[in-house]
């Protein structure tokens, strides 16, 4: 992929700023901040790709309502739905095609405005077989977690360590919604939602938005001394019927393989310096360590036991606090890329990891991660 696409700037708005405003005006603000950061005008931007979700917004054709707020008036702007990482992937392809040399990618969700995550994700399920069983984000995560615990003796305590780590990391992230010093005990004692998933094992609903400026190599070199390069990306989807899927080895492994191949990564746990993973349920972070190749099959629990993924560990995971700390559903995938980019730029402030040269950003959506994407960034 050699230097074809660069990330030159990142902007985000945290939950407090988002609470009091609507999606249009928030979109304007984050994009304007981005333009101001790099000293560009709306006219200077070639194209814009945005990501949002109609159901989450209660406004159909969700990008229609904020199109002009993106600065997209009379421009070629498109929308990818359901996962902010898609906005990045599509935006990158637009740059790689040579058709554009600048592209803003953006994602927004106001989690505080939605009816209920479970209601909306229950609507992912087909109406005939799976919806009547109430399959939704939480119950399917629970079904997956049960299988995971049963097969590999992963414990609730190990999953709880993810919560402790991520919510603790979030104390150093100005933009995170939920943060605090929790103990494993706190997690284990929290209300059981769908066994073994407890309230603290779940992500909350958050408001958030971010925007990134992507450019071609030539443009990047003119704009910054510190570009972040796209090294590889992969994405992949699993079967629709829940019962058709291998819940412990699904689309993520393939998505990662695709990204690693382009990025030339053969030994992820050695070659990746920091990872921002989408972990809406604590257990999933452990499972995703395995599918990303950070550790062997069934070893996700042991991997966190050894402290590998803490801020001082061999491979810090979710220094930002991840999705457990901040879950603007559609924007979360793009936020992982934004955070990974900030790490490489040395701009992650209090949650900066030292010596980052290669970062991984992961996103997922759909029941128990039906869809996954992996983006590798480097210096």
């Amino acid at each position: 992929m050699a230097n074809m696409v660069a990330i030159v700037a990142v902007e985000q708005l945290g939950p407090e700023e988002c609470a009091n405003d609507n999606v249009r005006d928030l979109t304007f603000r984050v994009n304007k901040n981005l333009l101001n950061q790099v000293g560009l005008k709306r006219e200077d931007v070639g194209t814009i790709v945005s990501s949002s979700s109609d159901f989450w917004q209660g406004i159909s054709c969700s990008n229609s309502v904020y199109y002009d707020a993106l600065g997209a008036y009379l421009k070629n702007s498109s929308k990818t739905e359901e996962d902010g990482a898609f906005a990045f992937i599509y935006g990158a392809m637009r740059i790689m095609s040579g058709h554009y040399d600048t592209c803003i990618v953006h994602a927004i969700t106001k989690g505080s405005e939605i009816p209920c995550l479970s209601t909306l994700t229950n609507l992912y399920a087909d109406p005939f077989f799976q919806r009547p069983i109430g399959l939704d984000d939480v119950s399917t995560a629970a079904l997956q977690a049960m299988l995971y615990m049963n097969k590999y003796n992963i414990t609730e305590e190990q999953a709880a360590k993810v919560v402790v780590k991520n919510l603790g990391n979030a104390l150093d992230n100005l933009y995170a919604h939920k943060k605090g010093r929790f103990s494993v005990e706190d997690v284990l004692k929290s209300r059981i939602m769908a066994y073994p998933i407890k309230e603290l094992d779940c992500a909350t609903y958050s408001d958030g938005t971010c925007a990134l400026l992507l450019t071609s190599e030539e443009k990047a070199k003119k704009m910054t001394k510190n570009p972040v390069w796209l090294r590889g990306m992969g994405w992949c989807v699993d079967h629709q019927f829940f019962g058709d899927r291998d819940l412990l080895d699904g689309a993520l492994r393939k998505a990662a393989r695709m990204a690693y191949a382009t990025a030339g990564i053969k030994n992820p746990s050695n070659e990746i310096n920091v990872a921002e993973i989408c972990e809406p349920y604590s257990f999933q972070e452990l499972l995703y360590y395995e599918q990303l190749g950070f550790c062997g099959e069934g070893e996700g629990g042991k991997f966190i036991d050894k402290g590998n993924t803490t801020m001082k560990g061999k491979l810090p995971v979710n220094p930002s606090g991840g999705v457990l700390a901040h879950n603007p559903y559609v924007a979360r995938g793009l936020l992982r890329i934004a955070e990974a980019a900030l790490q490489l730029m040395g701009k992650a402030e209090k949650h900066q990891v030292d010596g980052v040269k290669t970062a991984l950003a992961h996103s997922t959506h759909g029941l128990a991660g039906q869809h996954h994407s992996v983006v590798i960034l480097g210096k």
């Binding site: 209601t119 069983i133 109430g134």
Partner: protein
Amino acid sequence: MAKEEARIMEGKVSLPYRWALGPVFSRFFDEFKNKKIMGTKCPKCRRVLVPARKFCPRCFEDNLEWVQVSDKGKIRTWSMITFEFSGQPKPPPYICALVDLDGADTALSHFIDGIDMTDLEKVRDQVHIGMRVEAKWSDNRQGNIMDIAYFKPM
């Protein structure tokens, strides 16, 4: 600086639906009404897909053979639901699960019941992965997935 209270506008979107089943699901549910669970077998990969489908999602073949599978099987995974959400099929607590029916290569999602659900520890004594279960057919079958009321321990 006094924090301004966010002004919220409330609204509801309510839309009616009528979903076409297609002949394959229609036949599946006709047989279901007669207490038969049907799968379709892919000529290429030889997997039996339940519920019966028009095509195999891996081979993309559509010349599938109808085969009956058992209404008995084992639990692939399960969870007891104890939280609420709008549009939920029934008030919690209830158990949802994936059941690998004998003869099928894919699992069916459904409820587990016929057990004491008064507390989680009791449930964990009665339900586990790999456990044999059988369908409890409803007396009043309509030709939908709830013609099986739940799967119960054998």
